[in-house]
Amino acid sequence: MSKTVCPRCATGGALDDYQGKEGGKVVWTIHRCPTCCFSWRDSEPASAIGIGIRSADFAVDAANLDRYVKILQQ
């Protein structure tokens, strides 16, 4: 399990989905949180991805994922 922590739900274990490279050098990495499905690029401004800086209005409570509605139920 990776140590990368999700800026949205504060859970560890984020995956590395892609690395942007220029001349063989990594410019940024796209991470994805398997818990809350948030994806982000590590080069984004802190206002969007900084833990503790990002707006709390958009946090996801990893302990309470049942509250999110499932669309298109029969």
Partner: protein, 485 residues
């Protein structure tokens, strides 16, 4: 000049053709200065959107971490770009563009030509293993708090899982797609949309639902495929008829009819019964959707042209490309539906936030008649959910000229000419809703009075108006531009 423009518009088969046409008219620019995917692409797209009349399409070809890749935004981002798509010159008024679209109904037959897969430009490059969407798509976060990287301008084609051989029951629509890892994405829809019905049918019957996601398409498709037309009409046929030009189709690897000249096509299959977290997404009312659990699709293959252009959109708090993209084609069906009963309706402006505010011009047949027309508008297919605020103006007020609309509001409205309808259905993403999906409607009658209304003593000034005056204002503008050169 006009005929050349119309001819060239009809010869468009692809995004590339249209970008070239826009470039020749000074309506597309290439941004070669190095930019970061965030926040630069968003910032530049928003800055361009400020000029609703004249903003160019922007092609980025130097995005950090995406060497050699290209992203286009703002392709439908201004009235001038829409005018050129319709074969009209820059500077064509919104009102003229509205009548251009409204006048095309029933005008021409669909012309569909079939291109063998081996000859279709979209299949020039093919990826069937080791799929990573990020290899092909130079994505950027559209709004700061979106839940991930979105494809905001993808036309999704699918066959009806219960009637897969029926061409007319194929659905093509624009749905927001959120990337969920290298080979997966979620699709957001509601049960009443065609795709929502197909997803529910597939899950009810256990039949597979395969889709083809087209990116960087014929520019007519995005304008005309988002239309409230009947379920059994093909969006391709409709777009062809409305463009007055052939549409070239081919087959995707998973057997769906797709545009032969699209930049990129992603083939995918729904994971029956599975849902993962989707959202938020900054939607067209200028507010974020919530987080919900949405169906997830697994990518089975990608086709793309050589050196593809990834087309995306900035959507969020208006004015944005979304407004110019769908505005006229939201307005025109309401106009046509109202005219069936009420030929006194002379124009409909539902440009604002997909028609959350609409302005209707009507010639009063009798006192209070405009209010009757307003109630009919609320029962049109689009009106049922979207037309929240309606402003009724006289036939001699151009509903696309807000200065004239404000004149009507200022001088024609009596406070008792306002109707509020409580607890009506409402589009769930209206941020003003107390309970999403339910809300109140407002009708402001800003038309003139007729007996038995008490009319008062004022007599209206009737300034010169009509095509001659329209031509004079264009001439003045042209003289002014000439003087500056």
């Amino acid at each position: 000049m006009m005929q050349d423009l119309a001819k060239r518009s009809r010869s468009i088969t692809s995004l590339r053709d249209f970008l070239e046409l826009l470039g020749d008219a000074g309506q597309a620019i290439t941004w070669s200065e190095r930019v970061m995917p965030e926040p630069d692409v968003r910032n530049i797209a928003v800055a361009a959107s400020r000029d609703a009349n004249g903003a160019p399409a922007i092609v980025f070809d130097n995005i950090a971490g995406y060497p050699g890749k290209r992203t286009a935004v703002g392709v439908h981002g201004s009235w001038d770009n829409i005018a050129l798509l319709l074969g009209r010159p820059k500077g064509t008024t919104i009102r003229e563009l509205f009548f251009e679209i409204a006048g095309r109904w029933g005008d021409a037959a669909a012309q569909i030509s079939i291109v063998p897969e081996g000859q279709a430009p979209v299949h020039e490059c093919r990826i069937e293993s080791g799929i990573n969407l990020y290899d092909v798509l130079p994505v950027f976060r559209i709004n700061e708090y979106d839940g991930g990287f979105y494809l905001g301008k993808a036309s999704v084609a699918s066959r009806d899982p219960e009637d897969p051989d029926n061409f007319g029951k194929q659905n093509v629509g624009i749905y927001r797609l959120q990337l969920q890892g290298p080979d997966s994405f979620t699709l957001m829809t509601i049960p009443s949309h065609d795709m929502g019905r197909q997803i529910m049918a597939a899950e009810r019957t256990g039949l597979p639902l395969k889709i083809a996601v087209m990116l960087g398409n014929h520019p007519g498709l995005a304008v005309f495929a988002a239309t409230p037309i009947g379920y059994e009409e093909s969006e391709y046929s409709y777009a062809s008829a409305m463009m007055g030009a052939p549409i070239r189709l081919t087959k995707s690897g998973n057997g769906i009819d797709i545009l032969a000249d699209s930049e990129i096509v992603i083939e995918a299959e729904m994971q029956l019964g599975e849902r993962v977290l989707e959202g938020p997404f900054g939607e067209f009312p200028g507010s974020y959707s919530g987080v919900r659990k949405a169906p997830i699709f697994k990518v089975t293959a990608i086709s793309h042209r050589k050196n593809p252009i990834f087309e995306n959109i900035y959507i969020g708090r208006g004015w944005t490309e979304h407004d110019t993209l769908i505005g006229l084609h939201t307005s025109a069906p309401i106009y046509a539906q109202l005219r069936q009963n009420f030929p006194e309706v002379t124009a409909v402006n539902a440009l604002y936030q997909h028609g959350l505010t609409g302005i209707i011009s009507v010639k009063n047949r009798m006192a209070g008649f405009a209010k009757t027309v307003a109630l009919r508008a609320l029962s049109t297919p689009h009106g049922v959910m979207y037309l929240k605020n309606l402003i009724m103006v006289d036939a001699d007020v151009d509903p696309f000229d807000l200065n004239q609309v404000m004149w009507a509001l200022s001088t024609r409205t009596r406070a008792d000419d306002i109707i509020v309808l409580l607890n009506m259905p409402a589009v769930p993403i209206d941020p003003s809703a107390v309970v999403p999906g339910k809300g109140h409607r407002l009708i402001i009658d800003a038309t003139s009075y007729l007996p038995p209304d008490p009319v008062g003593e004022a007599h209206l000034v009737t300034p010169p108006t009509g095509p001659d005056i329209d031509e004079l204002s264009k001439k003045i503008r042209a003289m002014q531009l000439g003087a500056l050169q």
